[in-house]
C-alpha cells in the first residue's frame, strides 16, 4: 500500500473516532436506511410467496349432469389437457364426491341426517381443473362453453367463483403496486436523510477543508479521509443491521411460518446471504461515499 493511501485511511479512521458523536448519529441514520431496503427486500419475498400460495389455491370444477362414461371422460380429459393453460386435471366420481363429503362433515348430525333424508347419492361427478395462472381460467371456461361435451355438463363453478377470483387478483396487484410505490418513496426519504446527515458532518468541517487546501493538500488527499470516514460509517451500519435482522428473523421466523406456511424467511435471508450483503453494502458504503463526495465539492474550490 502506498504511503499516501495509508495516510488517507488512517486519517479517515481518526476522523471517525474523534467525531464519535456525529459519526454514531450518521451510522444510526444509515442503519435506518439499510434496514428499510432490507425490509423491503424481505417484504417483496413474502408478498411473492403469498401470491403464489393463493394462486395455487384457486381452481375450477366442471360438474356433470350425470355420471359420464369412461370413454367420455377420456375424451374430455384429452381435449382439456391439450390446452396450453391447463396444468392439472382431476376426475372425481359421484362415489368419491360422496366419500369426501361424508369425510368432511363427519360428526355434523344435521347435515348427515339431511343426507340420509335425501337418500342415495345426491352429489355430482366433477372434473377439477388447475390452470398455470389464475388469469387463465376465463379462457378455459369459454373453451368449455363452446366444446362438444357441453351437453353433459350441469354447471361450471368458475362463473360462481369469478367475482372472488377477480377480487383476489385486483387485491394482490394493488398490494404489489402500492408496495412498489411505497418502497420507492421510503427509499428516497431514507437516502435523503442519510445524505443530509453526511452533508451536515462535512459542513462542520468546511473550515478544515479550506485550511487543508491552503496548506497545499491536493483534493484527493483532502477528500480521501472523508470518503473513508463515510465508508467506515456505512460498513458499521451494514454490520449492525445484519446482526439485528439475523436476531429478529431467528426469533420471528417460526411465528411468521405459522401465519404464512412455507415462507421460511430465516433460511431465505441466509440463502440469499450474498445478495443481502451486496444490497446492504451498496446502500451503506455507496451512500456514505457518494454523499461525502457530493457534499465536499463546494468547499474544495478555494
Amino acid at each position: 500500500m502506498n504511503a499516501s493511501l495509508k495516510r488517507v485511511i488512517k486519517s479517515g479512521w481518526q476522523g471517525f473516532r474523534r467525531n464519535s458523536g456525529l459519526s454514531l448519529a450518521t451510522v444510526f441514520i444509515m442503519i435506518m436506511a439499510i434496514s428499510l431496503v432490507t425490509a423491503l427486500f424481505l417484504l417483496q419475498k413474502t408478498s411473492n410467496h403469498l401470491v403464489a400460495t393463493l394462486s395455487e389455491k384457486v381452481d375450477m370444477a366442471v360438474y356433470f349432469a350425470e355420471e359420464p362414461s369412461l370413454d367420455e371422460i377420456t375424451t374430455i380429459q384429452a381435449e382439456l389437457t391439450s390446452l396450453p393453460e391447463v396444468k392439472n386435471l382431476e376426475y372425481i366420481s359421484k362415489e368419491d364426491a360422496l366419500a369426501k363429503f361424508v369425510d368432511r362433515h363427519q360428526g355434523e348430525e344435521v347435515i348427515m341426517d339431511s343426507l340420509e333424508e335425501v337418500g342415495g347419492n345426491p352429489l355430482l361427478s366433477s372434473l377439477n381443473i388447475k390452470a398455470f395462472e389464475a388469469t387463465q381460467y376465463a379462457a378455459i371456461s369459454s373453451f368449455i362453453d363452446s366444446s362438444s361435451f357441453k351437453s353433459i355438463i350441469a354447471k361450471v363453478d368458475y362463473n360462481e367463483k369469478k367475482p372472488a377470483i377477480d377480487k383476489l387478483f385486483s387485491l394482490t396487484s394493488t398490494i404489489s403496486n402500492t408496495g412498489i410505490a411505497l418502497s420507492i418513496v421510503l427509499a428516497i426519504v431514507a437516502v435523503l436523510i442519510a445524505f443530509n446527515t453526511v452533508r451536515i458532518a462535512i459542513y462542520n468541517s468546511r473550515d478544515e477543508i479550506e485550511t487543508m487546501r491552503l496548506v497545499g493538500a491536493s483534493n484527493w488527499f483532502i477528500r480521501g479521509p472523508f470518503l473513508v470516514q463515510g465508508m467506515i460509517g456505512g460498513l458499521l451500519a451494514v454490520l449492525i443491521t445484519f446482526l439485528v435482522f439475523t436476531a429478529a428473523l431467528w426469533f420471528l421466523s417460526p411465528k411468521i411460518d405459522i401465519v404464512v406456511p412455507g415462507l421460511h424467511l430465516f433460511s431465505y435471508f441466509f440463502g440469499s446471504f450474498l445478495m443481502v450483503i451486496i444490497l446492504q453494502l451498496a446502500a451503506g458504503v455507496g451512500l456514505g461515499a457518494v454523499a461525502s463526495w457530493l457534499a465536499m465539492r463546494k468547499y474544495l474550490k478555494v
Partner: protein, 229 residues
C-alpha cells in the same frame, strides 16, 4: 521573485463597494525580509490572501517565479502553495488533529517519508518550544501556544517564502522576541519572509525593508524602514 503588479481588490458589501487594495505594486527579491505595516483594515491580510490565491484580484497580476499565480489551474494550486509557508492571523489549525499531526500534515501532503516527518516535526516542535504539547489538540492550547504551533507548521517543510500575518499578535514580549529572532534566522538561511504586523517594536528593531499601507495604498516603501503611521 515575487512581483505585485497594479493590484486592486474591491469587495462588494451589499451594493456598496469596499476598496481593500488600490493599484498596489512592489517587488520582493529572493531572500528578502519585508514587513508590511498599517492599521487594521489597511489591506495587509488581503494582500496575503491574494498571494496565496485564496482570492482573486479585481485588477492586476501577482507573479511568483515568472508565473502569474492567478492563472494556475485549481489542481496545480496545491503544488504552488507547498512553496509557501503561512502563519494565518487566525492560526487555522485543524481542530481534529493534535499539534504534532497539524505540523506533520504539511509534510504528509508533500509525500515525505514517515522517518523524515518524525524527524522534522520533533525538531520544529523543539524550535518553537511545544515539545510537551505535541499530543494536545488546538482547543487545549493557549492563544500563544496555538500561534507557535501555526508558526511551526509554516516552517516545517522549508518553504521558499514565509507569509506571516500578525504572528506575534497573541504572544508576550518574551515569546515575541523569540519568534522574530526565529524568522530572522530562517531569513538568513535564504527563505524570503513577508511579515504583516502593526507591532511598532518589532519593526523598529528589525531594521529591514518596510512597506506601509494606508487605505489600500502604499504610502511608503523604505529599505531599513521605521514604523511611522
Amino acid at each position: 521573485m515575487i512581483s505585485f503588479q497594479n493590484i486592486s481588490k474591491v469587495y462588494q458589501a451589499g451594493t456598496k463597494p469596499i476598496v481593500a487594495l488600490s493599484n498596489v505594486s512592489f517587488e520582493v527579491q529572493p531572500g528578502e525580509f519585508v514587513s508590511v505595516v498599517g492599521r487594521s483594515g489597511a489591506g495587509k491580510t488581503t494582500l496575503l490572501k491574494l498571494f496565496l490565491a485564496e482570492e482573486r484580484p479585481s485588477a492586476g497580476h501577482i507573479v511568483f517565479e515568472s508565473q502569474d499565480i492567478h492563472q494556475i489551474k485549481p489542481h496545480h494550486l496545491p503544488k504552488f502553495r507547498r512553496d509557501i509557508g503561512v502563519v494565518f492571523q487566525d492560526y487555522k489549525l485543524l481542530p481534529s488533529k493534535t499539534t504534532y499531526e497539524n505540523i506533520a500534515y504539511v509534510l504528509e501532503v508533500m509525500g515525505a517519508s514517515d522517518a523524515d516527518i518524525a524527524n522534522d516535526v520533533v525538531r520544529v516542535l523543539d524550535l518553537v518550544g511545544l515539545t510537551n504539547r505535541a499530543q494536545s489538540f488546538p482547543e487545549e492550547l493557549s492563544g500563544g501556544e496555538r500561534q507557535r504551533a501555526a508558526i511551526a507548521r509554516a516552517l516545517v517543510h522549508q518553504p521558499k517564502v514565509i507569509l506571516a500575518d500578525e504572528p506575534t499578535g497573541n504572544l508576550d514580549p518574551y515569546h515575541t522576541k523569540d519568534i522574530i529572532k526565529l524568522l530572522t534566522r530562517i531569513n538568513e538561511m535564504g527563505t524570503t519572509v513577508i511579515l504583516a504586523t502593526h507591532n511598532q517594536d518589532i519593526i523598529n528593531s528589525l531594521e529591514k525593508r518596510v512597506i506601509t499601507l494606508e487605505e489600500g495604498k502604499i504610502i511608503r516603501d523604505e529599505e531599513r524602514g521605521r514604523f511611522t503611521i
